[in-house]
């Protein structure tokens, strides 16, 4: 659906995208994960034909990106870019017509899209009187109005409260069930972990790792992570080294990577000589992988 090859983009002397390669298959949710300034937005802007790449190629639906491929892409920017005086229906109608829909087809798509984002009962409500979550849903609905081949959701839950975040996640999961291809950019690791089939980690304009969560898990040699709290940090680290465990600090937490999963009792036995305040076990998740790969965190 989307293929990016050897993409490069400089702003003046600063290289923002350095040889970026990426492929998104039809029907999948691909998460593009990276810190602010990693090159996510520039990549999106190039896909949307807003800015031109210095070199490389981008194909959407087997066509090179141009003014003509804009109709294949639906973008929900991270800000709610809406006409506040207009109703949900009027906002959708405006963009529907801009994307070439007219008459009954436009009306049908408005009804379908409002239903998809669960706002059918708010069709005639002015956007300015909607809650933050509803505005975000209409923002996404506009991206869907013309049935695009590829939907780009740029940090769709940034700045939303947790309940609204769950609403948006549900919406994205529903879109996936309908077979929509989605490029999701986010810096929320739990969001990417929950929603994405494959994840690409972008750092300084380059994809440094890519794959499903299970594939990414294989990039760090740990089956489980044990987090301990103790005043005897040095002794704990020494003991970890004796056992051949890598150790990391996640914030103030001292963590050991265990090459295989152990029972809690077995883990406690390993650190029996250390005066532990607490011990907990965690599966390796995207946060650990991301921190390991990018080294400097989000």
């Amino acid at each position: 659906m989307l293929t990016i090859k050897n993409l490069k983009k400089n702003y003046g002397k600063r290289a923002v995208i350095k040889d970026l390669n990426l492929e998104i298959k039809a029907g999948e949710i691909y998460g593009l994960l990276g810190a602010n300034g990693a090159g996510k937005t520039t990549t999106i802007n190039i896909i949307c034909n807003l800015i031109e790449a210095d070199s490389g190629t981008i194909e959407i639906n087997n066509k090179k990106v141009s003014q003509g491929t804009k109709k294949y892409v639906g973008v929900a920017p991270q800000e709610n870019l809406l006409y506040k005086n207009l109703s949900c229906q009027e906002n959708l109608k405006f963009y529907g017509r801009i994307y070439g829909l007219d008459g009954k087809k436009c009306d049908r798509r408005i009804a379908e899209t409002l239903a998809a984002v669960n706002l059918s009962d708010r069709a005639k409500t002015p956007v300015e009187s909607l809650s933050g979550g509803m505005k975000r849903r209409i923002n996404i609905a506009i991206a869907l109005i013309h049935e695009p081949k590829l939907v780009i959701l740029d940090e769709p839950t940034t700045g939303l409260d947790i309940e609204t975040r769950y609403e948006i996640w549900q919406l994205i999961e529903d879109l996936k069930k309908q077979g929509t291809t989605i490029l999701l950019t986010t810096h929320l690791l739990d969001e990417a972990q929950r929603l994405c089939d494959r994840i690409g980690i972008i750092k300084e304009g380059k994809i440094i790792a890519e794959g499903s969560l299970n594939e990414l898990r294989k990039l760090i040699p740990a089956a489980e992570i044990v987090i301990i709290k103790t005043k005897e940090t040095e002794q704990a680290i020494s003991r970890g080294k004796e056992l051949g465990f890598c150790h990391r600090y996640y914030g103030n937490d001292l963590a050991f990577w265990l090459p295989e999963k152990l029972e809690l009792r077995e883990t406690l036995e390993l650190f029996a000589n250390i005066n532990l305040e607490s011990i907990s076990r965690k599966d390796v998740d995207l946060e650990h992988i991301y921190l390991e790969l990018t080294k400097n965190g989000i």
Partner: protein, 257 residues
């Protein structure tokens, strides 16, 4: 078809937004009537002519010199600035909307507003006894050229100078009010000193005003106002071209944000 559909979509959106702002809509109606009445009574009183006759001369000046200026020039500046502030401009750039359709959409929306104000001004003037004998088509052509010129200038100011909503009033006042005074919108140009009259002759509002007064108040034919008409025509073309260039440069700047 694509351009037509997009143009109508943009125009309809602007008009719907205006319709939602009922207060603004009422003021856009009150303003030209107030200017017409003031102009008419001042003109009638100073020239010692009946109110009906004074209204015939006051109506064209009030329309092109005041009503259309603020609604079409100020309105198009505000439209562009509001799109920038709401960041909807960026969403439009992402969409397949062409720049031509966007400009035409703003023009068409302001044509509707301008025609509405024309009907309003001339209905009130007619109610006060004014009669108009000139060519309706020629008068409308002048009104359309005026709207085109105002929207073009509005586009330039909106894209190049007014970055925020707060800038709009200052910019419209700075550029507009001197031009309106020199154009005869509030005072007859016959009272202008010679040097100011020379300056007024390069002022498009002066030509709009004189052309429309000539046609709709004095019943002049095209040949008699041809110079002013062609001045307006060329001015409108130049502002559209400059407006287009300004829009392109805005796309370039905004895309990178």
């Amino acid at each position: 078809m694509k351009y037509w559909r997009e143009t109508i979509a943009v125009a309809q959106r602007i008009l719907t937004e205006l319709w939602r702002r009922k207060r603004s809509l009422i003021f856009w109606g009150v303003f030209p009537i107030a200017i017409l009445l003031l102009n008419g009574y001042i003109y009638g009183g100073r020239a010692g002519i009946p109110t009906a006759k004074a209204m015939e001369f006051a109506a064209p000046s009030s329309l092109v010199g005041a009503a259309l200026f603020f609604s079409c020039l100020g309105g198009s500046v505000a439209t562009v600035v509001s799109e920038r502030e709401q960041q909807t401009l960026k969403r439009l750039f992402i969409s397949p909307l062409s720049g031509v359709s966007y400009f035409l959409g703003i023009f068409v929306a302001h044509c509707f507003i301008g025609i509405g104000q024309t009907i309003l001004v001339y209905t009130v003037a007619a109610f006060l006894g004014a009669k108009f004998d000139g060519s309706i088509l020629l008068g409308l052509a002048i009104v359309f050229l005026s709207i085109l010129a105002y929207v073009g200038v509005g586009f330039i100011l909106g894209t190049q100078l007014a970055k925020r909503a707060e800038d709009v009033n200052a910019i419209v006042a700075t550029f507009g009010v001197p031009l309106l005074i020199l154009g005869g919108a509030f005072l007859p140009t016959s009272i202008l000193p010679k040097n100011l009259l020379t300056i007024a002759k390069v002022n498009p509002i002066y030509h709009m005003n004189e052309a429309l007064v000539g046609v709709w108040a004095r019943g002049k034919e095209f040949a008699e106002i041809a110079d002013r008409f062609w001045f307006l025509f060329i001015f409108a073309l130049v502002t559209i071209a400059l407006g287009w260039i300004s829009y392109r440069s805005t796309i370039y700047i905004e895309k990178r944000l």
